[in-house]
């Protein structure tokens, strides 16, 4: 292909159907919301939910189709078509579908019924979907920015709350920095390999025998890419924004950030590292190893000393990111780290959305009552809610018979398969530290008496989401087989034969 010749790529529409569904919904929400507001008023949640279900169903069909046809790429190699992307897209759809009812109740409380938050959520989902299937660094960057910009706005969307404004601004500024790092990383990798396409990068790296000293460009590029994605997954030391933003953003937004946002970033990280940079695993593995260790420990320790439940959950999400990084490290050895990381993310998505839904309920109309003392005596005021939250917290702590244990077990299993014993033990010890945090919340709910008697009102839709999350958590905890089998089928489009390691 000559440099000036331009052949429009063939567009395989079915491969980008999730994007089209969400884009269509987005347009419908915005246009109808602006032109005939009466039609959709109060039904935005339903529409968004329906779009999430549509994507999930479409992806489920795609999943079974991919069983018979080989994985590949679409849109001139710009996006990958594989089960990895399908699973990640499904997780994003699940996140969107679960957050939509919670957001509905949240907005209903403050009488805001405009289409804007819904449009932003749909945009964020699109960005996340682009990230998980991007097979080109620039496409990845597009997805990253689409996701991030929507989240910046959403974080600041509670205009009556100064903390929300602060969160949005903070996230925007720091996120801008990280995007710059990421972009510069892309440029350097392009400089070193001559391509931004993951497949091509992988092929070039395979072909080139590097001599000492001439790959500084590439190493620096890899480092900057890791910084950019490390920021998005809130890996320590790039996590500083997490507690403030998670605390300040409206709770449903936080739930989405901690679930879909994290899934997208991790999927991108996994794809980037294990396909394009597979040959350089020896270079990036130690970095991921250190990141994982730091993230688990700093996240757990910092979580313990917080007094605000949202901040606690924010740091706990940092610690969970560390666990996924343990899986990423294992994936670098060719161990089943890929599937265990993705399974972890799926399980965590449900857990974290359930948990933040409880927080939304307890936080009340102002969305402010999130300190630990606001949870005091919840078991007396709302026993079912407290029990549900307890299940979700125990699952996050990794107690057996909950999905959280299955997630942790899977990741530790792949770390052991990869002989990363130190990391496995350290991660488990970190989990023990984190358990203290969940115990603190449970103590507050069960063992301390309430200051005042009024029970928080549980809106029906949010209650349903919590119930679904708890049911899923327990069901997967007892019958995890189907999920693990599905996880084992996850594969990544790989142009290069996997090295032995």
């Amino acid at each position: 292909m000559g440099p000036l010749a331009f052949t429009p790529p063939a567009v395989e529409f079915t491969d980008v159907l999730p994007l089209l569904i969400w884009l269509g919904t987005l347009c419908a929400v915005l246009l109808l919301g602006a032109l005939v507001p009466a039609v959709l008023r109060g039904r935005y949640a339903l529409v968004t939910f329906a779009s999430a279900v549509a994507v999930a169903v479409q992806q489920a069909m795609k999943w079974s189709d991919l069983g018979s046809e080989p994985t590949g790429t679409a849109l001139s190699d710009a996006v990958a078509v594989d089960r990895f992307a399908v699973l990640a897209t499904m997780v994003i759809a699940v996140a969107l579908g679960l957050v939509a009812p919670v957001l509905h109740d949240h907005l209903a409380r403050r009488d805001s019924d405009g289409p804007e938050p819904w449009a932003m959520f749909l945009t964020a989902a699109m960005g996340a979907q682009i990230m998980v299937s991007a097979n080109d660094l620039l496409v990845l960057f597009l997805g990253l920015e689409t996701l991030s910009l929507s989240l910046y706005v959403l974080a600041a969307s509670n205009r009556r709350n100064a903390r929300s404004q602060e969160a949005g601004l903070k996230y925007f500024i720091l996120g801008g920095f990280s995007s710059a790092f990421f972009l510069y990383g892309i440029a350097l990798v392009y400089g070193a390999t001559g391509s931004t396409n993951l497949t091509t990068v992988a092929t070039r790296l395979q072909g080139s025998v590097s001599l000492a000293g001439d790959d500084a460009l590439l190493l620096l590029g890899i480092g900057l890419l890791l910084v950019g994605l490390g920021f998005k997954v809130s890996a320590v030391p790039f996590h500083a924004w997490t507690p403030d933003v998670y605390q300040g953003a409206p709770s449903p937004v936080t739930a989405f950030m901690a679930s879909a946002g994290k899934v997208a970033a991790f999927a991108a990280l996994l794809r980037l590292l294990t396909t394009a940079l597979e040959r350089r695993a020896d270079d990036w593995r130690p970095v991921v190893w250190a990141l994982a260790l730091l993230t688990v420990f700093v996240g757990s320790v910092m979580a313990v000393v917080q007094t605000d439940v949202k901040r606690m959950l924010a740091f706990s999400s940092v610690s969970h990111a560390g666990f996924v990084l343990v899986g990423v490290e294992a994936a670098s050895h060719g161990a089943p780290g890929l599937s265990s990381s993705m399974t972890y993310l799926l399980i965590y998505t449900v857990l974290v959305i359930g948990s933040f839904s409880v927080v939304t309920v307890v936080a009340g109309d102002s969305d402010d009552a999130t300190s630990l003392s606001d949870f005091r005596g919840l078991a007396r005021r709302r026993p079912a809610l407290a029990l549900g939250f307890t299940v979700l917290l125990l699952a996050q702590a990794g107690m057996p018979a909950t999905s959280g244990f299955i997630a942790k077990f899977g990741v530790i299993n792949s770390a052991v398969e990869a002989h990363s014993y130190v990391l496995a033990v350290a991660a488990m010890v970190g989990a023990v530290i984190a358990a203290f945090l969940y115990l603190r919340i449970m103590v507050s709910m069960w063992l301390e008496d309430a200051d005042d008697g009024d029970a928080p009102r549980v809106p029906r839709a949010t209650g349903a989401v919590i119930a679904v999350a708890v049911a899923f958590t327990l069901f997967v905890g007892v019958f995890p087989g189907w999920l693990l089998d599905a996880g084992n089928l996850v594969d990544l489009f790989r142009p290069v034969a996997a090295p032995q390691g």
Binding site: L394, P400, A424, L439, V443, L447, G481, L484
Partner: protein, 524 residues
């Protein structure tokens, strides 16, 4: 009890699964029943725990005395992707612990009043029972870990919700301490299964498959053993990891203390036998001096610390540290007698210390204090209560004729050959036990009752019946230990044979090829 003929026809009944699932069902039922009908709640809890106890006693009667392997085995595929199965089985080592669990829970449910939130309390107790049962019955490493860890949750809530003034601190300490140990064991379990895959041929967490087929290189086996040992040592608890125990025991409600001392601590000692010695015999023998030393330090330390306590409950708690030291001593002495003694001591300690906590709980109910200094002359006003306390205490000391003697004696005699000097030191622990318990008895029960103690209520009929069951077990086992020992021994011998076959170690009372079907040495 069901006759032998019926036992045969019931052989297809999943006895062991029922032991785990009946309490779970009971807990769910209790949780679903309305709090406004406390009598139904209590009835449901009682029915399921009595049913579990009944099944366990029936299992005891149907247990084949001369069979050394696992009986009533129940095995179903569960998580195929990881080679995990629902594999339950019982042998002589776990048999009496299972029965003890089955008997202890209904007694506690009947006999101890939680004072508030009875529904939640009963639900947690039943979950706890399921967890303990599952831990003793599991023959799959994953399954064992699952139950071992799940036990923490109900115990945490029981201590935290119904305990005394520093209950939240104690509950949290208990939870985190134990979970810290488990962190290592989880990695160890996974590593064991993954490394055993080469020998076994496929990934499995099945205990028997791994133990029989897999051989670990010495250095690997030692690391794996140590990862298990940390978790188990915390649970036992072994010096210096014991510091959670006095707090947990002291702050726990009576039911919690009884269960904790009765069966929960045994998860650790049982684990050493079932998983430590069985899976990693070479490593266990290698680590023998370390664990013998820790056990002996525990015996002496527990005794000395108990002597110095001013709180009666804390005193009993420290006596547990000492008693469990004997069990660990017997375990790592690896002789037939010592191991049999260990297993017997696990059960006997459960009975006598469980009863002791029950009695201390009754004292607290009456006097609202556990401070030894505030109790005096109770014998004068409540002689029957004092007598009951005396019998239980003597059993705890290990006086011949009572159950405590059987296990301790077998441990000491069995350990003498393979761990002579440790045994010599440990034997002084028996004397110390007499010292601190008798001294405590003297301070609490003798003398003239002052005003506060002169109103001490005599034991009631209900309490008497409850303690009576314990005393009956204490006397029966003490006077006629044969039925117990002859069921324990075949399995213990089988374990020792496994160790001998794997390591070339020769147990002094168990030379290779010896006739191990005899029941000669028990009980005299």
């Amino acid at each position: 009890m069901i006759a032998a003929g019926a036992a045969h026809s019931l052989s297809s009944f999943p006895v062991l699964s029922a032991l785990v699932l009946v309490p779970v069902a009971g807990a769910l039922l209790v949780a679903l029943l309305s709090e406004r009908r406390p009598e139904f709640v209590k009835l449901a809890a009682l029915a399921s725990s009595v049913a579990t106890g009944g099944i366990s006693v029936w299992m005891l009667s149907a247990f084949d005395t001369h069979e050394s392997g696992y009986q009533f085995v129940s095995r179903h595929g569960w998580i195929d992707a990881w080679g995990i199965s629902w594999h339950l089985g019982v042998d002589g080592i776990s048999l009496f612990l299972v029965v003890l669990t089955g008997v202890l829970f209904p007694l506690v449910i009947v006999g101890v009043d939680p004072h508030h939130d009875e529904k939640r309390y009963l639900a947690w107790l039943l979950v706890l029972e399921a967890g303990v049962m599952g831990s003793f019955l599991s023959l799959d490493l994953f399954l064992f870990f699952l139950f071992f860890e799940i036990v923490l949750v109900p115990m945490y809530f029981l201590i935290g919700g119904w305990g005394y003034d520093r209950r939240v601190y104690a509950a949290t300490k208990f939870f985190l301490y134990t979970m810290f140990g488990s962190a290592f064991m989880l990695v160890g379990i996974i590593a064991t299964a993954v490394l055993a895959r080469r020998d076994v041929g496929y990934l499995t967490f099945d205990l028997v498959q791994i133990a029989e087929k897999a051989g670990f290189a010495a250095s690997t086996g030692r690391w794996l053993f140590l990862s298990f040992a940390v978790a188990l040592a915390v649970k036992v608890p072994l010096f210096p990891l014991h510091t959670w125990l006095p707090d947990a025991h002291t702050q726990a409600p009576t039911a919690g203390s009884v269960i904790l001392a009765g069966v929960l601590l045994k998860l650790g000692t049982y684990g050493f036998l079932r998983f430590g010695l069985y899976l990693f015999p070479e490593a266990a023998l290698w680590a023998k001096p370390l664990f013998l030393t820790l056990a002996v330090i525990g015996i002496i330390w527990g005794a000395v610390a108990a002597t110095m306590q001013t709180d009666l409950k804390r005193l009993v708690a420290y006596s547990s540290v000492a008693h469990l030291g004997f069990i660990v001593l017997g375990t790592f002495a690896v002789t037939s007698q010592a191991l049999t003694g260990s297993v017997a001591q696990m059960v006997n300690h459960g009975v006598s210390t469980g009863a002791l906590f029950l009695l201390v709980g009754m004292i607290y109910e009456r006097r609202h204090t556990r401070a030894i200094a505030e109790l005096r002359g109770i014998q004068a006003v409540a002689p029957v209560f004092a007598a009951a306390f005396m019998v239980v205490m003597l059993s705890s000391i290990g006086v011949p004729g009572l159950n405590g003697f059987v296990g301790e004696f077998l441990v000491l005699i069995g350990s003498f050959e393979t761990a002579r000097w440790w045994t010599v030191v440990a034997a002084t622990g028996v004397i110390l036990a007499a010292l601190y318990l008798l001294w405590a008895y003297q301070r609490v029960f003798h003398g003239e009752p002052d005003d506060a103690n002169s109103g001490f209520r005599e034991i009631t009929a209900r309490e008497g019946a409850l303690v009576g069951v314990f005393i009956a077990i204490i006397l029966f086992t003490g006077l006629y230990p044969k039925p117990m020992l002859e069921r324990i021994e075949p399995s213990v011998d089988r374990l020792i044979e496994h160790v001998q076959k794997r390591t070339g170690y020769v147990a002094p009372d168990h030379p290779v090829g010896a006739d191990h079907g005899s029941d000669g040495e028990g009980g005299d």
